[in-house]
Symmetry: C2
Subunit: 334 residues, 2 copies
């Protein structure tokens, strides 16, 4: 493989000039630049990114940690991150944490050992304290879909409180009064904020929040099934069900259908996230859009702006959830 020495030889130009052409950090006359570029072309020169990294102490790579590679949400997030980084010539080193504390820490260690210039983390299991401590290190970290107050400028998240509010508002607007709620585990702020939003929507309609009509699931399909089973087994009265994510909504749908419900006639259901399969469910799931793709893009932009000092990049940290109306909610006939 050709080196800059050979390029400088062939172009009849000094090493420094070749470097200047490569890095665009100093004036080079058009004539000499053309000579250099022609020489590179002729030699098929490709800068050795590893040597560049070593000398400049920059790896031009950004470490990405997601919970899964094959979940519908993470895929979109990665797609967003990768496309932004790649157009900037940076690359993504991707690894997974499987929502387990030890594995997330391992993954982060792994990324640090690869000399990433920054980390974009979708860490779920690791504590706020750990992240705060980590952020004191030399490698800047950015959090997607997680809000940690102390690191708020480096967080990209959605307004989960508003999301929870909107989800419940959908069924309220259709006249439902008895609304069951399946939450995720309450140890994450995302989850509790969705619940707070739910309660707020109820309060606005002067409906008292009924502890009995809420269930703590685990964001999985089976969690949704368990939740609906619980409500039915306890002979509770409800005409609508709001779930804190689409997986649980899907599970609830399955359980409902297996137990003689006609959907959506007998039960209106709202999900959260708007994952890709929400559109494949029957009936198509009404849900709240969680713009993970754009959040991924924004996280990447934040890195480009703050770490790589690119100009003219506009960023914002909080995204607004949007209502996606489909077929799983109907007007309450009461």
């Amino acid at each position: 493989m050709a080196t800059i020495y050979q390029v400088s030889d062939l172009a009849g130009v000094s090493l420094a000039t070749v470097s200047r052409v490569l890095n665009k950090n100093a004036r080079v006359s058009d004539k000499t630049r053309d000579k250099v570029l022609a020489a590179m072309e002729e030699l098929g020169y490709r800068p050795n990114s590893i040597a560049q990294s070593l000398a400049s102490n920059r790896s031009n790579s950004v470490g990405i940690l997601v919970s899964e590679l094959d979940g519908p949400i993470y895929g979109q997030m990665m797609a967003g991150i990768e496309s932004e980084l790649r157009t900037a010539g940076k690359h993504a080193i991707i690894t997974t944490g499987y929502s387990e504390e030890e594995k997330e820490k391992d993954g982060i260690e792994f990324l640090l050992s690869r000399n990433c210039d920054a980390l974009i983390l979708h860490a779920e299991a690791v504590s706020d304290e750990y992240l705060i401590e980590l952020s004191k290190g030399k490698v800047p970290i950015y959090l997607v879909s997680r809000y940690v107050k102390e690191l708020k400028d480096n967080c990209i998240s959605i307004d989960n409180r508003l999301g929870g509010y909107l989800a419940t508002k959908i069924v309220l607007d259709q006249g439902h009064k008895d609304i069951a709620y399946i939450s995720g585990r309450l140890n994450k702020p995302d989850t509790t904020n969705r619940l707070i939003g739910h309660k707020k929507a109820l309060a606005e309609e002067n409906i008292e929040f009924d502890e009995q009509l809420s269930f703590v699931g685990d964001y999985s399909e089976t969690g949704g099934m368990a939740g609906l089973k619980y409500f039915i087994d306890n002979k509770l009265n409800f005409s609508a069900l709001v779930c804190a994510n689409d997986e649980m909504a899907s599970g609830a749908m399955k359980y409902a259908r297996e137990h003689g419900f006609n959907l959506p006639e007998d039960l209106s259901i709202v999900g959260f996230d708007n994952v890709s399969f929400a559109n494949y469910l029957y009936p198509k799931l009404t849900t709240i859009d969680n713009p993970t793709n754009e959040m991924g893009k924004m996280a990447a932009k934040l890195v480009l702006k703050t770490v790589y000092k690119q100009k003219n990049i506009k960023t914002h940290n909080i995204f607004e959830p949007k209502v996606i109306m489909r077929k799983s909610v109907i007007i309450h006939k009461g």
Copy 2:
């Protein structure tokens, strides 16, 4: 960040010895190894992977090209690749080609410019010739879910002919005789092989393949909808539909339901791939499992074995598709 010099200082040992400990390529007495490891620990030493790469001319990174980051298939494939590579301490640089020739080439160029030790490609748009040419370069390439005869040792693929055969066999076994088939575009061997399998299954039952009852789709939901529309508009007679992938099966289901079909009573449907949402469809889709996750793992193992010379790794190149029985096919009442 600490360097090996500081480690060797602190451990009271030579540079060479530290390197020996790091690379495990020469005998080091337990006593000195412990001293070295203790020094590393104390300094928080982490080898600089970039300097290692430069000096050893190995980047320990493998470039991955997939068609999308957020498709159900590619996610599983990446998950398989990444987990294998990571346990071996190698890392994955992931990029996308969006099934477009130019973008795939760009992506490959990008990966080559990052000094990857090998490429694992799920390239769909690029020609066989291009890949063969590429394989003559210094960086070895491996193909997933694609079979190119000239590179067969570097290809991981499934037996699509058998898959197509099994898919059609499912409905034949339930007594169906009039079987429609929605194919993908016939420019890819995967697609034509599935069709060949379909024809073979028909032939075994002495059913003549009816050109009218086959439609060329594009592997998308709308392709499936268009296919079913075509069969219906032409007033063709069929009780079962075999689709060359799950997306098209899902589209056909939607179209069928919107046009008054009761599923699965009025039409039995078989998909192909067993993507994650197949289980969320209603009725749950009977399909052929395409073990992309394992294929990804196998591709990574192949790289570990052939590029990184790891021992005791067993590999094979062709995977067998399996039937996944669910609810979208019922016995033919006729």
